[in-house]
Subunit: 230 residues, 2 copies
DNA sequence: ATCGTGGATACTGTATACAATACAGCCGCA
DNA sequence: TGCGGCTGTATTGTATACAGTATCCACGAT
């Protein structure tokens, strides 16, 4: 049945995912040129679906297209990183504030459960797994703000900077710190302290950014993680 | 020489603007179907550039594309409006807070000048002109936050909901109220009171939304469709 | 040797042709 | 009369062909 759904996926949609994943995973490196004929040949399809995917990737900020020259994988500067974390901080902070009064205690318990799991994973040291579950944690309370547009915006933003966030979490000790911070956030949710929750989430985001900006050079270099679908 | 630059605009880019304008101006109404062959015939070009523009418009949220069925002009629900103004409020508020310490007194004077002009236009009652200059006002202090990504996000958001904001400003008395609020915001900038500036800008945005939502629920739904076409 | 010019090449931009699918309308049947 | 299936048409999805332009390299002039 799932196959049926896949049958209805257009080539463009599949290629879009493929290229986006390649960019996020680092298989396509920032600044690198992406040529249509090459991709077309590689995937055994025509240029048409690829071109259409390019347009979408351009809008999403993954590609920089120069007319009559071609497409380059977008690369971030230190300022981009700074700006990204600033925005993430405000948006997630707001989501936390709103969610504070809306989350059911069952949902808060679920957050607690996720964080328990995160602690285990952190001790094992599996960054990629941690990252995945970590995203579930944030997703849960962001949905709690009951603002779909906000959720989509944050999701798109995070996706685009996925590699950066992974790098941030990879810093030694970062995972456990994250777990501790989550603990405090959950506590704030439980006591329905919206202002505190907002503040904690903001600090959490800012800290993630600060860690990265200090080691700006590592950020710029292509990552060395194997390709998997996160 | 300017001609040269224009010659380098691709068909896709021009069509993109054209369709986007048509949607924003209401020439293409929310929910309406947009057929590729029709547009191709109307503009005397092939479907290719149109399809590519569609992909971009889809990413930007102007179109809803259903595979193998076609493209519909996106329409907003009451919840969309609510969510939009909530996000606008946080982002602009943050921008104001940041801008507060960065704006030069010359820039603050410029804001004052723009607001003077707005007062004149408000008294004349030219809503569209007011809207244009009004945008300059906001643009100026948002740039003052020195966060380009934030600026781009706000700009994209505002553009998408342009018609709504125009409707909001068209409410009787709204323009003058806006001028008064700007006055207070300028005052906050002058005294470098970041918290106040943030609060005022947030209230300003929220008020703009409230005006619309009230109208929408009471007046503007003779057709009780969930989606309004404002 | 360096710079400029010219052409070859490869890529992007656009048009058109073809394939697959959705939809409407019609016909036949109960 | 109402329902179901079929067929024709229109529209979307994909491939291919063609045109225009940028890039690279070789060659010749200064």
């Amino acid at each position: 049945m799932k196959k049926n759904v896949e049958r209805h996926l257009t080539l463009r949609e599949r290629i879009l995912e493929t290229i986006r994943d390649a960019i996020m995973s680092g298989a396509l490196k920032p600044g690198e040129k992406v040529a249509e004929p090459e991709l077309a040949a590689r995937f055994g399809i025509s240029r048409t679906p690829i071109r259409e995917a390019f347009r979408q990737l351009e809008s999403e900020g993954y590609l920089t297209v120069i007319p009559r020259k071609g497409a380059l994988v977008a690369s971030f500067s230190a300022k981009d990183v700074e700006e990204f974390y600033a925005i993430k901080s405000i948006l997630e902070g707001y989501a936390a504030r709103k969610a504070c009064s809306r989350l059911s205690s069952r949902e808060i318990n679920k957050l607690e459960g996720i964080n328990e799991k995160l602690r285990e994973i952190a001790e094992e040291g599996d960054v990629r797994h941690f990252f995945k579950v970590h995203n579930n944690f944030h997703d849960l309370f962001i949905r709690g703000a009951d603002n779909e547009k906000l959720h989509d915006m944050i999701e798109a933003l995070l996706k685009k900077f996925q590699r950066l966030r992974l790098a941030s979490l990879s810093k030694p000790g970062r995972m456990l710190i994250s777990v501790e911070e989550h603990e405090k956030i959950i506590e704030a949710f439980r006591s329905r302290d919206a202002v505190l929750a907002e503040m904690l989430v903001q600090k959490n985001a800012e800290y993630g950014g600060k860690v990265l900006i200090e080691e700006e050079c590592t950020v710029a270099s292509p990552n060395h993680y194997p390709d998997t679908d996160l």
